[in-house]
Amino acid sequence: MNTQKRGLQQFFIGFLAIFCVFSIFFGATTPANAYELLGCRWPTKSIAYHIGIDCLYEPDAEAAWETAIDDWGNACSINFLYNNSSYNCLDVVYEEDSKHLGDTYSNYNTETNAYIYFVSVLNLAHDELEVGTIRRSVANHELGHAIGLADDNTPLLRAIMNQTRKRILIYKPQDDDIQGVNAIYG
């Protein structure tokens, strides 16, 4: 009986020690919940948009926006709904010599912190955007800004909002991004 008790004690202590070592290791190396928020939000989870005139001439870019809209819709409770009478706009620009792959301007009410409208663009002059997966990655990143997520360049963080991500590998919202959206919209 005594031997059994001691065995159980040793098993429990061993288990606890291994659990603690793993907790310390993963706690120190994995940036959990690293998302950053902008402090603004849409009052609704259904956000209207229309495709800009220049984008209508660029089917690859339009497809990137549509795919990104599906990616966010599949990942969380936010829905982007097409409405031609929306001021929210997804478009393209052609800015030569630029480091910018994508860009989002948002106008918000300073009293309520509610967004009024946003305009997001893909910069088709940047040679990286010739790759479809990278276009999708940038489109998803910009939509993340449009709904209230900020950049987070924590090294090795697997998130669409990380500007230093490998865009060819991380092209749709990741767990960290989804947690960020949930923190804003519930």
């Binding site: 001439y57 409405n83 929306s86 030569e96 301007y105």
Partner: protein
């Protein structure tokens, strides 16, 4: 060792480990930021006015010297010798030979005298290097009503287009008579050169290299105030992620050797 002594030895150790585990877990979890206390949750219509503007970029950022070397077609050592001209970097997407009719993005072309080429080939020992300087945007101010999802529910009866200009938060004015190492790409259409990722420039002073970027260890957003044509001022917040500087402080020869080795 008796059972009592063993227990007296093990229990404090286990307690310390548990406390450390809890600390590691808690310090790593983001506490949910207090936010949106004022956000309108009801779906009331809002009048469309120009409030404050946030701007977010997905910017091409390179980390460390080897990424800078791999991303550049040409790496040169030399000096800026003055401003040559300015141009509109924003082009018509359907015909890049034409300027954009919507936006003016001012690029400044500087003359650069090349002393040494560390990567790639150049036909001339003087090149033009473009720096993105500023951007002029148009905003439409109107009395249209939009709903909480961004739909226009009542068309505008009054409409006013206003402009504002912002200096690029990443712009650093090049200094003359100072040696720089530049990591460049060629604009094939126009023949000049530019940095296609941040950072792309290093300054050499007294044989010591300093990486050039406004993103180095910056933690806050760039806050700028723009004045509209009608006199109204708006706050524009530009958010770009920070970068880590692992290069500054090395000697020119050390960096040059590392550049050559990385090819």
């Amino acid at each position: 060792m008796s059972s009592y002594k063993k227990r007296a030895f093990l229990v404090p150790i286990i307690c310390v480990i548990i406390v450390l585990s809890l600390f590691a877990f808690l310090s790593n979890s983001n506490s949910i930021q207090p936010l949106l206390t004022k956000a309108a949750d009801d779906e009331t219509n809002s009048m469309w006015t120009i409030g404050a503007i946030t701007r977010h970029l997905d910017c091409s950022i390179v980390e460390g010297l080897s990424e800078m070397v791999n991303g550049a077609e040409v790496i040169v050592v030399g000096q800026y010798t003055g401003l040559d001209s300015s141009w509109n970097m924003s082009r018509n997407p359907q015909n890049p030979e034409e300027e954009s009719s919507k936006t003016y993005v001012e690029g400044l072309l500087y003359n650069f005298s090349v002393h040494e080429v560390l990567k790639g080939e150049l036909d001339s020992d003087t090149i033009l290097v473009n720096h993105r300087h500023s951007e002029t945007k148009n905003l439409i101010e109107s009395n249209a009503e939009i709903d909480s999802a961004g739909n226009i529910v009542k068309d505008a009866t009054e409409l006013n287009e206003v402009q504002f200009t912002l200096e690029d938060p990443l712009f650093i004015e090049p200094e003359e008579n100072v040696v720089y190492i530049l990591f460049l790409r060629e604009n094939q259409r126009r023949g000049h050169y530019y940095g296609n990722a941040e950072p792309f420039s290093m300054k050499v002073t007294d044989d010591v290299v300093a990486l050039q970027s406004n993103l180095i260890e910056h933690t806050d957003d760039f806050l700028q105030t723009a004045t509209l044509e009608n006199g109204q001022t708006i706050n524009v917040t530009t958010e770009i992620g920070a970068i880590e500087d692992t290069i500054s402080g090395q000697t020119f020869e050390e960096v040059k050797e590392a550049i050559l080795a990385a090819q």
